[in-house]
């Protein structure tokens, strides 16, 4: 993934997270420490687009990050956000982030966005993502957001 695309991704995702979830992203250039790589509960959200250009992005949210953005999104207390709402918010986040990104990469609207899918990963280690082509990592107050994407 080239640097220009990384910059557009960061700017786009930051806008989505700050506007909708009051959450700030900080790009990570280097592999995080062991604690951040430990197995745990994650949500995986996937979305693609095809047509004039093609791409596919996978978002891996630590559960606590998913919960936090859901709480901020809905404006509810922590214990009021249900698991299904947290998973739905992850899917909608992928939709908003990649929909906005596509608007910049494909202003002519030649590509169509697919429907996002999200699922719970009960035991997932983000260590498996290290070294994968197209990996972007963003530090947040509630853990690292892992994103693996392709665009052509």
């Amino acid at each position: 993934m080239d640097e220009d695309l990384r910059r557009v991704i960061f700017a786009t995702f930051s806008e989505v997270f700050e506007t909708m979830f009051f959450t700030f992203l900080e790009p990570l250039e280097e592999a995080p420490g062991k604690e951040e790589l430990a197995c745990g509960k994650f949500i995986e959200a996937t979305i693609g687009y095809s047509g004039g250009c093609n791409g596919r992005f996978i978002f891996c949210f630590p559960w606590e990050l998913g919960k936090n953005i859901t709480v901020n999104f809905l404006g509810v207390d922590e214990d009021e956000a249900s698991d299904s709402q947290i998973i739905d918010t992850a899917a909608e986040t992928a939709n908003m982030a990649i929909g906005s990104l596509l608007g910049k990469l494909d202003p002519g609207g030649t590509a169509s966005l697919a429907i996002p899918q999200a699922r719970l990963l009960a035991e997932f280690s983000p260590e498996t993502l290290l070294g994968v082509s197209g990996l972007c990592m963003f530090n947040t107050e509630f853990g690292i957001l892992w994103v693996v994407g392709t665009h052509a």
Binding site: E15, V16, T19, M20, T70, F73, L74, G75, S84, Q85, D88, T89, A91, E92, N95, M96, I98, G99, S100, L102, G103, D106, P107, G108, G109, T110, L113, I115
Partner: protein, 145 residues
């Protein structure tokens, strides 16, 4: 005086956020109705009096663009203004929507003020006489923004 609003989005949480945003905008709301796609929205429209439709574009089964097309082709439904609230905001997509008669366009991510502004603009155009009426006691007129 109050308006019945149909919120169409496949994300349950997004529907909840849009409903909350509209409620806080000061627009007098009679009833909210919800649909998860265009098909469900048409079923609601067949059964219920709706004053304005807020719809996503990217939805399974029937997307927002097809919903807008169906609404614009129907003699009764075409009077109902439809506002897109969507991530799909390319110039080409907006032009396509304009040709089909969309009343307004809000790009996700959105600030609550953007929804309030477009909603008032569209309601004033479509129902100016109703907005001039005095609000019911129950329908709060104050905006929380």
């Amino acid at each position: 005086m109050a308006f019945n609003i149909l919120v169409t989005d496949d994300s349950e949480t997004m529907r909840a956020v849009i409903k909350k945003t509209v409620s806080m905008s000061g627009v007098p709301v009679g009833e909210f109705h919800e649909a998860a796609n265009g098909k469900e929205a048409l079923a609601v429209l067949a059964e219920t009096w709706i004053d304005v439709i807020l719809s996503d574009i990217n939805m399974p089964e029937m997307g927002g663009m097809e919903l807008l097309k169906k609404v614009s082709e129907d003699e009764d439904l075409r009077k109902i203004p439809l506002i897109f609230i969507t991530t799909e905001a390319s110039d080409a997509r907006q032009e396509e929507a304009r040709k089909l008669g969309v009343a307004g366009y809000v790009k996700k991510p959105f600030q609550p003020e953007a929804i309030k502004a477009i909603l008032y603009e569209v309601l004033e155009k479509a129902y100016a006489h109703r907005l001039e009426e005095k609000p019911d006691e129950e329908a709060g007129e104050e905006s929380d923004f």
